[in-house]
Amino acid sequence: MENRILLRNLVFLFLLFILSFPVVYLLFYVEQIQFIWDPTLLTVLKGALLQAGLSTFFTLVLGFLGALGFLKLRGMIKPTHFDWVSLFAIVPSFLPVIIIIVLFSDLFGFLPTGLWGVVFFHTMMNVGLVSLLIEKLIFNTTSDWYKLSLVSGVHPTRFILKGLLPELRTEWMSLGFYLMVLYFFSFSVPLIVGGTTYGGIEVYIYEKIIFSGDWGSILPYVLSLSILLFLASRLMKNTPHFEKQKNQDATLWMTSLGSFTLLICALTPSLLLFLILFKNFFIFTSLSVLKDSLPAMRVSLIIGLLTGFFMLIWLSMVSFCFLSTKKSQILLSWMNPGWVVVGFSLLLMGGEGRVVSLFKTSLGLSLLFFPYLYRLSMDRHLKSLSSQILVAETFPVPWNRIFLKIIWPQMIPHICLLSALAGLWALGDFALAEILLSSSQTPSLALEMKDLMTSYRLNSALALVLPLLFPAVFVFLVFQGLSYVSGRKISS
């Protein structure tokens, strides 16, 4: 009993060590650390809070409507087709931000900037993903209630207003908190369209590094902000989450809950992106550059797969630990310092060979994505297993059997989904790759896009959007496949 607790604690400590080592390493490296108060930080914080709050609100509202559309769709088409539509919906969340901004400004002929610009692009980029998350949440947790409400003749609108929304408030809160943190620490969107007032926290840190290069005064800021988030997340109520329900008949949801057309809320950003690509004939340019972009596609694929695998390992470790409420709170509150800090920390560790730098890039990305993905759904899914584990422990079943027979089989589909997301996000990154993918080696597709844009070649950069979709599909299929293989026996 004691041994198993010790092992779980050790795994948890190892995970904390992995998560914190970039900033700890940098702390040892920087000689003189001093905190200099900058009054503009308050304006930055205020702006970041406002844009994060509004972005969260719009993403949640549109995401909820899109989720109702997805629920309808799930009953209408085959699961494989549903997966493809899902992948299509999340395309904007992993394309490089500047590409999305440029494409949208072309479509509309104007560019929303400032507060509403940030809110607009945040919402456009994440609404597809959030719709899918909400759809999954509703489908998994409220199928039984819905069936009951249908039998009792309750109108679907009443079911939404009196049942779905109030009963799942904890879930909305945690999803809202996830989005708030994501937007509060967002980097690229505020950097490009936010201007000075809505530049955001990460931009503030980046500016300090680029402008002054004084790491001694930057690190205290980074730490203070991480602590600030840690304290803020303590305000979150820690109420139990709903357990997965057994009745998961997809056709059930075809019965008049929302409308199929609501799907447009989730699919609009992707539809618009592809419309612009076709409109400007980038699609044809893309086909012509396909062969030339093969080396960069290979590098992107490596980064996507490795980041996904690192995430798979971290999340599996979390599953093994099956964290207590207090420990779970630590991870929920965890925020890794900015991209530049993680990038330079990994750079300092040496080893700049081609293989090592690809590993470091993927490791760095997985560390940066971990807190977001844990907050996104990992914690909720783990908590939903509590009662099963309690029963197993009372027998008592050894922990390794509990993990292998109860936790892992039920968690692996979620872990695979989150790992796939990490892999997809990694494909669009050029901020960390710019620091770590050194030497004259082949760049990733995202990095090549950025380099092309630095050399006037915008059309060539946009033409790489389609080649980027190939590694994206592969990464998605690999982790979906893993989920399928892991869950085979259970479903048979």
Binding site: T113, G213, L348
Partner: protein, 346 residues
Amino acid sequence: MNYKSLITYLIALAITLFLLFLPEIFFKETITEDDQSLAIMTYSSFLQKWGAGPEIAELFKKETGLTIRWINAGNAGLILERLKFKRHIDKPDLVIGFDQFSIHEARKVFQWQDIREFNNQVKDSILPKGSKYHDFLAYDWGPMTFVYREGVDIIPESLDDLLKPEFKNRLILQDPRMSSPGLQFLLWVLAVKGEKKGFEYLTQLKKSIKIMPPSWSSSYSLFRMSDETFVFSYFSSPFYHQVEEGDDGYKAVVFNEPHPIQVEYAAIPSFCQRCDQARLFARFLMKEEVQKILMNKNYMFPVSKKVLHDSDFIGPDNVKYLDPIESLRLINKKKELVNQWKTVFY
């Protein structure tokens, strides 16, 4: 759960990953103390297939038999930061990509070799007065201005014209905190108008600014996608569209006021290991053929007058230049000025 299938799947994936890694594994890139190739650090677009780097390296090898090992610094703005964090063994022998604003900071952090002899190598230099330094070698340059597309209803002639209502929400600038061209614009205004009036001018200019992204590349990309706008860029930017896209529709504004200039520099750090080779390369950078490559790939003006005249590039003959000394006086107060800029834009 079927663990056997899971393990088989994972092994298959590990093999896939290994196969993807093969080209990296077979590409030996172990750096040793006795490695004789010249290590040059520069920004990433310089190194890409469309950049000047590969062609220059090939020519250098042909002429001297020496190979170049490029060290990719990523963003030009991060060169100095990367340099601070480089380990002894893979520190560069030469750095390409400083601008006049990073020189001050670079000198504070490292010592640089005296390379003034290469400045005098080009006899017909068209480099504006005050751009040469004993330790930083200017290899290309260009005046900065606003670039627009033909067909706009109004073209500015002076900085004051930009305040007119016709320019409302039409200027694309760069953030001076993170972008060198952005800093150029700020210093330009302050040098022309004076500090006090300059900030008053910026307050009035706010309504004309459409967006102020953090980098030149973002701003130029957005400019290309939005009609009727003016982007702060290089005087030579239209040549790219002319040469590569056959589009003569891009034009550079000639202002009544003297234009700021952007100069790109190379330098040899005192910690260089292959210093003689680095000096050889610095000399090589000033050669006509190399100047031609730099002009055609970077779309910047060469240092040599002959190289410019032998090309299709039209020199900035009718353009007045801002005295670089004035910019340098202001750059010494960079922190203070940018903080003041923040009060205008926050």
